[in-house]
């Protein structure tokens, strides 16, 4: 019965995705829409983006529809629309690798455009539009398509609520990463080959960089994790102290590179400061978190 329910939900998800792609025009300024679309699920996503599929699957990816617009045999615009299940995960995938944010589509849509690649998110969808090589004319077509897709997706962009707990002062806005899987923590700031913080699909984490001095290019890492369970947060604290901050005093430790780390638990939430220039800054940053 549960499996049947999941299958019905998956079919409904794919149907809503097909509604979006089916509403895109067959031709835009001489660019012809492909007659067929590619459909991918978690089971076969690697066939389309081998090597990158794991990223999407770790964010609870549901369905992908891919299509192209072609003007001649050698040039095409590739449109990929990923259904990530919910807005938090769509934002998470977008946040994973963006270096900047622009207003390429509109003031309301967070996007990143560069060199012919546009990525953005809206609602539960993450969208990538790629044209290569880029020209001004092609860039305009990418903009037209992205506006159409954006308008076809109902609702607005609601970010994960955990982001609201990040202290605002000295925060580098485009450094915010939202994730579940521990490998993405390591890819943004390497801690351990093992999952010593017990991250997983039942936890949510946000990592951000802070620059205490503007001229200082060394960032302090702020990591906030919601375990949704106080007991699980306690276990994670013990593991982190045992495996990482082995010689800490009151939750603070100076590492061999001279930088400081600190940890604080507040109920189901856990905050960790890494790479801080001194203990005071680590402590100050920890105190700035306004837990709910």
């Amino acid at each position: 019965m549960i499996l049947l329910w999941f299958n019905i939900m998956a079919e409904n998800d794919l149907r809503s995705l097909k509604t979006i792609t089916g509403s895109l025009p067959k031709s835009i300024s001489g660019w012809k829409k492909s007659l067929t679309e590619g459909y991918y699920s978690p089971d076969n996503l690697f066939e389309y983006i081998n090597g990158n599929a794991e990223l999407f699957i770790s964010y609870d990816f549901r369905n992908l529809i891919t299509l192209t617009y072609n003007k001649d045999e050698s040039t095409e615009i590739t449109v990929d629309i990923f259904d990530m299940g919910n807005p938090a995960n769509a934002y998470g995938v977008f946040s994973h690798s963006r270096e900047n944010e622009d207003k390429f589509i509109s003031d309301e849509i967070e996007s990143e455009y560069g060199g012919g690649l546009l990525t953005f998110w809206k609602g539960k969808f993450y969208i990538s539009i790629l044209v290569y090589p880029e020209t001004e004319g092609r860039k305009e077509i990418v903009k037209i398509i992205s506006k159409m897709i954006s308008n076809l997706i109902p609702g607005d962009n609601t970010k994960p609520s955990i982001l609201s707990l990040l202290p605002a002062e000295n925060l580098s806005p485009f450094s915010i990463r939202y994730f579940h899987h521990h490998i993405w923590l390591n890819s943004h700031f390497y801690i351990s080959g093992e999952n010593i913080l017990n991250l997983g699909k039942d936890t949510e984490a946000v990592l951000a960089k802070y620059y205490p001095e503007k001229e200082n290019k060394t960032s302090t890492i702020f990591l906030l994790i919601n375990y949704f369970d106080t007991k699980k947060a306690e276990i994670a604290v013990k593991s982190f102290l045992k495996n990482y901050l082995t010689d800490s005093e009151n939750g603070f430790s100076r590492l061999s590179d001279g930088n400081w780390a600190g940890i604080e638990q507040n109920g189901k939430m856990l905050t960790i400061i890494l790479n801080a220039p001194d203990r005071d800054y680590a402590a100050t940053l920890l105190k700035k978190v306004k837990y709910e």
Partner: protein
């Protein structure tokens, strides 16, 4: 998992390893050699970095003649012979059956110019055309690759979502039927591919194409032209690990230059160091690599 084992791979050790890599960017002058004297993991590996600003035309496409010239000069420097054809004869025997393992990724590939330059010199060494094949994803089905006595490995370097970089070591992933089976731990153990019977001890030359490398990944296809730059280079040698190590350092330097801060790869290309320390197929230790630099020097990054 014991505490000791967990702690052995934490950031504290990583910081130490990274420090060693930075120290190692000052390198010794290279000493020419020959493949036939370098079986197994060499004591010291020679890597030739050759750059020519004319290798790319106005549209960014490689010029065949310049590519051939770069490859020839690299082989001369690598083998110590005074002529590229003589140099190739120390690498390939006339009776060899040669598979040229290329890389056909849509956006940045080995390029047909490099493939043809390699094929020309393999034929110049006396190998008949029917005993040469160029392939990437079809190597397991290719009759020449199936009976190959010699392999030449050529691919571009680029950042990669799962393994840190697409490397020479990684280029042999198509020699297994299920490439995704080796994705664990950021493809840490790609080096074991080189000990497969189909591959082991067959690779005669490695060419890491660095005409237009990619230094950062964004988007589902792992390609973003914004993070591709013209480097005009090629790394050539016998030891894939040593070449990848040098290529990786160029990528890292470009990242730091572009971003204006220390920006390690995401994820780290750990498979290169492990190819040395776990799988013993080459040297990822800068003290054991002789780098020979030829040609264009501006923005060389290493």
């Amino acid at each position: 998992m014991s505490e000791k084992k967990i702690r052995s791979v934490t950031r504290r050790k990583f910081i130490y390893d990274t420090s060693l890599a930075v120290i190692g960017t000052t390198l010794l002058t290279g000493v020419p050699g020959s493949l036939f004297s370098e079986t197994g993991k060499p004591v010291k590996s020679t890597v030739v970095l050759i750059r020519d600003k004319n290798v790319l035309d106005d549209k960014g496409a490689p010029r065949s003649a310049v590519v051939q010239d770069m490859l020839d000069k690299a082989v001369v420097a690598l083998t110590g012979e005074n002529d590229p054809v003589k140099g190739w004869k120390t690498i390939i025997r006339p009776e060899d059956i040669v598979g040229i393992k290329t890389n056909v990724w849509k956006y940045i590939n080995t390029t047909s110019e490099v493939e043809e330059a390699l094929k020309k010199r393999v034929m110049g060494a006396g190998v008949s055309e029917e005993n040469i094949s160029i392939s990437d994803r079809g190597v397991l089905r290719d009759p020449v690759f199936k009976k190959a006595t010699a392999l030449i490995n050529a691919r571009p370097m680029r950042t990669h979502h799962w393994s840190g970089v697409g490397s020479l070591i990684k280029n042999y992933i198509m020699f297994i039927p299920n490439p995704s089976s080796i994705h664990d731990d950021s493809c840490a153990d790609l080096g074991k591919l080189w000990n497969l019977p189909l591959v082991k001890d067959k690779t005669r030359l490695n060419v890491l194409v660095m005409f237009t490398p990619q230094f950062h990944n964004v988007g589902p296809h792992g390609f973003n032209p914004k993070y591709v730059w013209k480097y005009y280079g090629m790394l050539v040698g016998f030891d894939p690990v040593a070449i990848d190590y040098m290529g990786l350092n160029i990528i890292l330097s470009q990242r730091n230059t572009f971003f204006g801060e220390n920006r390690p790869l995401n994820p780290h290309a750990k498979h290169i160091v492990y190819a040395d320390t776990r799988h013993h197929i080459g040297n990822a230790d800068p003290k054991k690599i002789n780098l020979i630099k030829i040609g264009y020097e501006k923005d060389i990054l290493i």
